[in-house]
């Protein structure tokens, strides 16, 4: 082939690759502006303050109420519950994998945890309805076990693989010199883990927790199937709650195009988007911090 043609191909390829890079920004911007556009359309009809602080979500009533506070509190409650379960379990398992487990045990456990990550959320939700839900119901004496606690357990299971993997990376990234110094002054393995390795890996562990939180906030199918979806203001872990994601999933299928209710669901999605964006940015801050620390 002639050199000129080869050089032209090279230039064209370079242009094509760069275009795809720019397209990625366009997609994120597209999602952002789609949410913004529809949210603005909603706020032309309902005041933003009423939307954020309103305690009633009843878009099909007369008059319709668009207060998203119950949904926000539900999402926070379920996420908080999930993290109370997943953080200790995740850090414990990651410590076991990084400091205690032998090579052979590790080579079995690692793929097992990756398998847990790949179980579709709808399958976990299904098992909840047939196994865990009735179990919780018989303990609490309710007619069904579809409540915030139930959702929290499922979200904990779903965010565990992320938390374990990232925490383990952080723990294994702690320089060996730190551990050796600890052993040399007579500390045992446990003392070293608690007082040296975990504090040294703290930024990485925080990043892992943030990724887990992001996952739990945005998860849809499991909370939709497991939390009961009562749109009243949540009263606690043993009551049915309705998260932001579940509200969008339930109602979007039924609303007419471009009504206030339709725009309201995009407004919820915009709040959800900002929440996960914030959590991810905080997580990324800690990831960078622990990378810098490792380089030093």
């Amino acid at each position: 082939m002639k050199l000129a043609i080869r050089e032209k191909t090279d230039q064209a390829a370079k242009l094509l690759f760069r275009m795809t890079g720019l397209m990625v920004i366009a997609i994120l911007a597209g999602i952002f502006f789609m949410l913004l556009w529809n949210t603005v359309a909603f706020f032309l009809k309902i005041k933003p303050w009423d939307f954020i602080t309103g305690t009633q979500w009843n878009p099909s009533g007369t008059p319709a109420n668009y207060g998203m506070l119950p949904l926000l509190v539900s999402t926070s409650l379920v996420t908080l519950g999930a993290m109370c379960i997943a953080i200790p379990l995740g850090i414990g398992t990651a410590s076991f994998l990084s400091d205690y487990a032998g090579r052979k045990l590790k080579s079995v456990l690692k793929p097992a945890i990756e398998m847990l990550a790949s179980v579709p959320s709808v399958a976990i939700g299904f098992l909840d309805i047939v196994v865990l839900g009735p179990g919780i119901a018989s303990i609490t004496g309710q007619s069904n076990g579809l409540n915030a606690l139930n959702g929290a357990v499922l979200l904990a299971i779903m965010s565990l693989p992320t938390i374990i993997t990232v925490t383990q990376d952080a723990l294994e990234g702690v320089p060996n010199a730190y551990k050796e110094a600890s052993y040399s002054v007579g500390a045992n393995r446990w003392q070293t883990l608690i007082q040296v390795t975990i504090p040294a890996a703290a930024p990485g562990i925080l990043a892992a927790v943030m990724l887990g939180v992001g996952r739990a906030i945005g998860e849809t199918m499991t909370v939709l199937m497991a939390t009961g979806n009562a749109s009243a203001f949540p009263k606690g872990f043993f009551h049915s709650v309705r998260t932001m994601t579940a509200t969008i999933a339930i109602e979007m299928g039924e609303v007419p195009y471009q009504t206030t209710h339709y725009y309201a669901l995009f407004a919820i999605a915009a709040v959800l988007f900002l929440m996960t964006l914030l959590v991810n940015i905080v997580g990324e801050y800690f990831v960078n911090k622990y990378r810098k620390y490792q380089a030093a």
Binding site: D10, G21, V122, I157
Partner: protein
């Protein structure tokens, strides 16, 4: 006394946490296999549902899931690979590259239901595709894109620089060195990432809720512009929305088992590719 007990408590704590995590996985597998295997038969996976979904099989849902995953791959793979090539082979450390990288990480964190809304606004309503296999596939393609870019870039990064320099030294253009030298040796890593991403996409429900999935279609053949059935949505409907929930439970177990088998099969093939590759190194 305390001195003897402490190591046991310490070990116990870590073993307990790890044990609980393994217990979750085993409980999920055990319940699905023990109760789902009796519903599984050749007839179940080769016939359409009948009698108001209370009898028959799940063939349309299997076909729908396979077609959907194929469309997702056709959209996300070329796009994602090109973007990863740009980032790893061409991009300098400029503000633009940093924005692109930040966008990718944030796209990976966007909740799947928001992709569903984006697909609804852009493909279904904006581009007038209607709720269809194509609209749902495009939506899942966008959702998979950041994962494919991240895994492909990792695979490209593992190709040693000396190989690129060798190609350039014998007079290849940069594109030729990427096409003939870099890509072939990065393929196992790229494939692993692609297959893992697709196994994830195959199990997604939220993004296809409003973009094209349907409760029941009596024709198993899929056309791009029509609604379709998919395994995850079928499972969701059977377990929450059907009038005779108790009656369809065996079918739901069967569907769940088939879905898990599809996802695990994809995962295992990814592990296999990775294993084969690591043997060569």
């Amino acid at each position: 006394m305390m001195k003897k007990l402490t190591p046991i408590i310490e070990w116990g704590t870590l073993l307990l946490t790890t044990g609980l995590v393994c217990f979750f996985l085993l409980a999920i597998l055990w319940d699905l296999i023990s109760k789902g295997s009796s519903s599984l038969s050749w007839a179940f996976i080769s016939t359409s549902p009948s009698d108001g979904m209370t009898k028959g099989g799940i063939l349309p849902a299997i076909i729908g899931t396979v077609l959907l995953t194929l469309i997702t791959a056709l959209i996300a793979a070329p796009f994602g690979i090109c973007c990863a090539i740009y980032l790893n082979e061409y991009a300098e450390d400029s503000w633009l590259t940093r924005i692109i990288r930040a966008s990718i990480r944030n796209l990976a964190g966007v909740p799947s239901i928001i992709y569903g809304l984006f697909g609804l606004a852009l493909f279904v309503q904006g581009l007038q595709m209607g709720t269809s296999l194509l609209a749902a596939g495009l939506t899942l393609g966008l959702l998979s894109l950041p994962y494919i870019i991240i895994t492909t870039e990792e695979a490209l990064r593992r190709v040693p620089n000396s190989m690129r320099q060798a190609a350039l030294a014998v007079g290849a253009t940069q594109f030729e060195s990427i096409r003939d030298v870099v890509l072939p040796s990065a393929i196992p890593g790229m494939l692993t990432g692609l297959v893992l991403t697709l196994s994830r996409a195959a199990g997604e429900t939220a993004p296809i809720l409003f973009t094209g999935v349907a409760f029941y279609i009596n024709k198993p053949a899929g056309y791009l512009n029509q609604e379709f059935m998919a395994l995850p949505y079928h499972l969701y409907m059977l377990s929450t929305q059907h009038q005779a929930i108790e009656q369809v439970r065996p079918l739901a177990y069967g569907t769940a088992l088939v879905l898990i088998i599809v996802v695990f099969f994809l995962n295992l093939s990814a592990f296999y590719i990775r294993y084969q590759h690591s043997k060569h190194e």
